[in-house]
Each structure stands twice: as C-alpha cells, then as structure tokens.
Symmetry: C2
C-alpha cells in the first residue's frame, strides 16, 4: 500500500457552500420583492447564455451591478431573486446571449463563461455559488418559455422560481438534472476515461445522467458497465456539487470494480484505462512524466480522485 | 444509550434494485426494436396517469400484457422500451388516464396506483422497479408533448428516451427531480414532521426538492431550516430511491441538528416535533401506545428512521 501522499490542504468544491440565504418564503411576497428591487445595496448578476458580464479590473473582477447598471447592459428577458447576503438582496438578470456577445468590445467590461471565471479565479469566491444559482435558473427560463404540456407561452412567477401556463394552468418548476460521477476502484488502481471534447492530456472520472426509475447506486453501476464494461459491487457516496452547465447536480461516488477488462464504448469515450494511485498523485500535482492531468479543483472529479489517492480503499469504510 | 432494538431483517427499498438490463445502446437501433416488438416473450406494462392496469387474480396479480393484449386496452399514446429481462424485452405503454379509469368496471382486470401496488404486494417484487421506470418515463411524455423552447409539437424518438422538436431542433431528455429527504438528529432524538395530506397517525422525515445551484448537503440544511427552524451541521448520505410520483429520485440523509427549538412552517407542515429513539422503535414495530406510525418499508423514510433507531449517532460514522 502506498504511503499517504502529501497533496496539501483540501481545496474548496466549486460552486458549493453558498453564503446566501435563499429566503424562499419571500418569493411570493410582492411587497418584499418591491423593497428588494429598490434596496440601495441590491446586487445583480448579468448573464446571457453561457456568458457572465463582469466589471473589468486588474486582479479580481466585480460581477455585481446595480439594477440600473444591469438594465443599461441590454434588454432584461428575465429577473430572478437569488436570496439575501447580509440582508442585501441579490438578483440574476437574464440577457440575450447575442446582446452579451456584443458587450465583448467594451473595455470597461469582461465577458467570460462561468467555468473560466471559476478556474481562473476572476471573481471573489463568495460569488461563485450565487452565479451558479443564477446561471442554472436563468438558463432554465431561456429554454422553457413555452408550456411543455400544451404549447402556450408561460409566465414567470414566484420571483423566478416557477413558470405558470395561463392556458392549461400547469405549474412548472426549475429543472435540476442528477448526474452520477464516479471512480471504479480495484485495490490500488481505478478507471479514468477521456471524453472526445477533453484537452489531449486530461483524464477524468466517468459520468452520466441518472435515468427515471434508478437509484444513485444503480445509475453508477449502469454507467460504468455501459462506458467501460466493468461490473461494480459496492457504491459509496462521496460528495455532491451544483454544476450549472446547464442545470446539473453532480453526485460523486466511489465504486468497487468487480472485473478487470476495460471495454471502451467509443460512442461515449475516446479512451479509458486503469491508473495506479501513484500515477494519479503525479497528475494531481501536475508532475506526471507524460504531462497527463486530472480535472482542476473546481470540478468534483478532482476531489473524488484525490480522496482515493489519499485514502485508497478506505474510501469504502 | 438505548440497546440496539430488534427490528428483524432489513426490508427491501421500494422500486430500487432493478433486474432489467436497460440496453441503452439499442434505443436507437430500429432493427433491434422491431425484433423486440415482435418477440414472443415481450412484456408490456400498461399505465395511464397514476394508474397501472393489472391482470386480476387471487394472490399476486400479473402486470404484464402481450403487446396485442395491451393495445386492446385502449389507444396507446406512447410506447417506451424499458430494457431486457433474461433476453426478453419489456415495454411500457402509455394510455389515457380516462381510458384506464374506464377499465375499472372489468372484473378480469385490476386498476390500482403504484404506491398501493407496492405497499399491498399486489405483484411480484421483480416488477416494481420496471413499473417505476415505466411510470416516470410515460408520465414525462404525457406532460411534455410540446417543446418548452418554442411551443411546437415534439416527437418521441430513441424508443421513448428523448423527444425532438421538428421546429427549433431542440432535443429533450426525460426529467428526474432530485429530492432530499432527511432526519435531523441530536443525541438520542430526531425531528419528524406531518404533512397535511398524511393519515392522522403518521409522522415522517422532512423532505423537499433540491434547487438549482445547490449541493445535496446545502439542500438538506436549507430544507430543515425552512421547515422546522433548526440549523444543521454535518450531513451524511444514507441511500437513494427512485420515486415515480411523478418523477423524483429520493436522496436520503442524516443531519446533525445544531439547535433545539422546533419552529414549524405551517404552510408546509401540519406539525413537527422531536421523537426519542424508543418511541420511533415502537412506531416502526406498529406498537406505539397512541398508535403513531412511521412510513411503510416501501418508502426510504422508513429506512432512514430505522437506521437511526438501530445505530443512533453511529449513522454519522
């Protein structure tokens, strides 16, 4: 058994650990919402499609606008109430993706996607969870302006936390898609795969959407079997993370591999193979002799792998 | 600390542990699907809204029809491929809810909801997971026949695992809603609540939908704080369960309560209070002096409570 490698203090899980009070009880309170919209410390995140608008700065950018500043950026398609931070309300404003693209020419602004913002530390860490909340919610609105039950146009209600259909009276709630992401382990090694869209050096955990009628544990076993042909026994939950690309929750697990032979599903993966703990430690420290890498700490995959590197089969204890 | 009570062998988690091979790789294979539809051992579950059609019998009913038998029950709105059981294909047929209601007068059939079917053991246990898969998937189709992106009528593709929009080209996947369900624990006691729709004697775990931008752990803490005013520290995942009412996955947790005073949110709950482990044991055994009960073993709440009764604070180990 390898000695416990020194990887330093554990990094923060990206987008999790929000400091906002969502104050869900106030979403239907018109008087409170009106007060919030006029609050002198109201903060607005401005998002269009995959892009977030930041106030440009050397060092950390500021992702917060006043409501008036945000309205001046473009037509606001939807406004959502995210919650309270030290009694001050935070909102998300949804702009058209093209309108935000057009802002790229302004040098008082910086337009970037939320992955890059997190990986490159463009904003203070406290902003990442409410930005994720805003992006997931506004993306849902942008793709759900019509009623899936009858086809009529729907209306935003409850400060952005529901859409109602005036025709068939159906109520629609924001969608969050559970994704299982896992490391299949046997003794001192585990299976990583490469998606076709990865940079050439990167390897990561396998992952896939949980399907209707499945438990988390069943989804983990099915995905590993489908993607690499390995049956799994015990499944152990590790941690979870919101992942607003567009609206997932990543459910991280370790799984006990019961067989050896990797059979790669080439429709899903470019490649997959076994990795020893020592090799993984080098990848996490960015000291791998061939330059192979694991995902950055913003992604739960990093933590799932790191936990195995540090604890070995104790991940199942 | 109470002695470990004898509750007998652990019961099975309802709807989980499917024996079907979902054979997801064949969902786009028209030739294979045609063969399956003509397979001599093809089995069909017939579902309309909340109701499942069973072949009536003394003892266990049979929920499986041949494709021809199922088509004779009413107009088939959607057909979905569920997977293979010992090489024989299983399908779900979605009928109109009213058509199924009308079948209640036939005495060769039994029409029942999937909760009652599970609680009363009306069918062999192996059928419960594919029935849950079929109900969740067919319910999604019934509520998603139009494109939420543009309002046009969508088409069922991929053997029922996707709907495509011919107008805007959007692809829509079945929806599964993550719900956190948890027991807030302090020492030898925990908090249970009563929903307004419960039978008068029943108490259960608190629960609520995970929201966009939340981890499981954050959703657990928010829901307990909202519903009973108690802040929680450590959250420990316990198990999960598909819950097709209409399309949830229940994510069961134990949480460490950091405060004492229960403040009930009367919009959500009729009541909530602390319960001692001894009282819970009596409820699980249906021997409570006032006749109070916990949910039946079909529901994950039963198992979350039972685990605390058996292990106490060791649930956090």
């Amino acid at each position: 058994v390898s000695a416990r490698p020194d990887l330093g203090p554990p990094p923060r899980l990206g987008y999790a650990a929000s400091r906002l009070d969502r104050a869900a009880g106030l979403r239907g309170d018109e008087a409170a919402l009106k007060q919030f919209s006029e609050h002198p410390r109201a903060g607005v995140y401005a998002i269009g499609g995959e892009f977030v608008v930041l106030k440009s700065a050397t060092g950390e950018c500021d992702p917060q606008f006043t409501p008036a500043e945000a309205r001046a950026l473009g037509v606001v398609r939807e406004s959502v109430f995210l919650g309270l931070m030290e009694q001050a309300p935070r909102f998300g404003f949804g702009l058209d993706a093209q309108a935000v693209e057009a802002l790229k020419s302004r040098n008082d602004l910086k337009i970037s996607d939320l992955r890059s913002i997190a990986v490159q530390g463009m904003v203070a860490a406290e902003h990442l969870p409410p930005l994720a909340e805003a992006k997931a919610l506004l993306g849902w609105h942008a793709r759900h302006r019509f009623c899936p039950n009858c086809g009529a146009k729907t209306e935003l209600v409850q400060a952005g936390w529901r859409r109602d259909c005036p025709a068939c009276k159906a109520e629609h709630f924001p969608r969050t898609d559970p994704v299982v992401i896992m490391l299949a382990i046997a003794g001192e090694r585990c299976v990583l795969g490469r998606s076709y869209r990865f940079v050439p050096t990167m390897w990561s955990c396998l992952a896939g959407f949980a399907e209707p009628g499945e438990s988390i544990e069943e989804a983990v076993r099915r995905e590993v079997l489908e993607e690499v042909g390995i049956a799994c026994g015990r499944v152990r939950y590790f941690a979870s993370q919101p992942w607003p690309f567009p609206s997932s929750i990543m459910i991280g697990c370790h799984a006990q591999a019961l067989s050896d032979t990797v059979v790669v599903d080439r429709e899903e993966l470019e490649d997959a193979r076994w990795f020893e703990r020592d090799e993984l430690a080098a990848m996490l420290k960015r000291q791998h002799p061939q330059g192979l890498t694991a995902p950055p700490p913003i992604a739960i995959a990093h933590h799932i792998i790191r936990n195995f590197v540090e604890a070995g089969c104790d991940v199942f204890r």
